[in-house]
Symmetry: C2
Subunit: 133 residues, 2 copies
DNA sequence: TCTTTGCGTAAGTCATAACTTACCAATACG
DNA sequence: CGTATTGGTAAGTTATGACTTACGCAAAGA
């Protein structure tokens, strides 16, 4: 969940720095229903009602999910009469993969090196019960 | 968001079928703060307070995020005195990659084949204004 | 042993994501 | 032109996730 407006109990939230890569795609695919829709598209381009058919949610819900997937460049839309064919778009997957490979390579390298160099224990500067920096 | 308990406005929600692969990992990485923590771990194993340092959220918040990452097998924990060293765990990444490569391969194959075979238009069985199947 | 450091967990708050139904626009079709 | 199909969008509801503070326990260190 991303906080934006003011919230009394939590002073602020200056948008934690994050790699602006496959972030949107990750968020988009974090929802089970959205994943289900996305997986349905593996069988080829489909109109909204076909995607909604058999799903436990309403057609408008699927529409809303498709919008999110589209914004994340995970699907693209092609108008065909009154229908709109949705299909999986490579670019979103690609962005995701780039972000992801970063860690993958790292993990492998680190595993290969086998030297983890656990951080030195350093004297903490007296914070009695304080949970905040 | 995953619905579980009853909700008057929405009859039921029988858990949309989904490939039980990197699902947890995707959900875990969908949060910006969690990604930030995860990215910090690229520099090597770190104790909780080191991870929390400089973050816009409290230390307990980071602890909670680490629990989620751990449940998704994205990080592992090693006790060291009063500290607990967290490090990136390959297995979660691997699961994620498997799920992900499924689509990736598909997308490439489909792109290569170039034949999309858009679904035939079929007479819908008269549903006046109904949004549900 | 008494204190400090390190960290997990409980309880409570609040914004919001994921739904719902209703409505509207656009295209196809008779 | 009237009607049905298709699908996007608005408005409203609710469960939940991301926080907070407070507390408690375990290991070090004096």
């Amino acid at each position: 969940m991303t906080y934006a407006k003011k919230r009394p109990a939590a002073p602020a939230r200056p948008a934690p720095r994050l790699a602006h890569c496959g972030a949107d795609a990750l968020a988009a695919l974090s929802d089970p229903t959205r994943r289900a829709v996305f997986e349905k598209l593996r069988h080829g381009p489909q109109p909204v009602s076909a995607l909604a058919r058999g799903m436990p949610v309403s057609r408008p819900a699927v529409s809303q999910h498709l919008k999110i997937l589209k914004d994340a460049h995970l699907v693209s839309e092609q108008r065909d009469g009154t229908r709109r064919l949705y299909r999986i778009e490579a670019s979103g997957l690609e962005a995701l993969r780039r972000w992801f490979d970063m860690f993958w390579d790292d993990a492998l390298a680190r595993f290969a090196a086998h030297a983890e160099a656990p951080p030195k224990r350093e004297k903490a500067v007296a914070m009695k019960g304080k949970d905040r920096g």
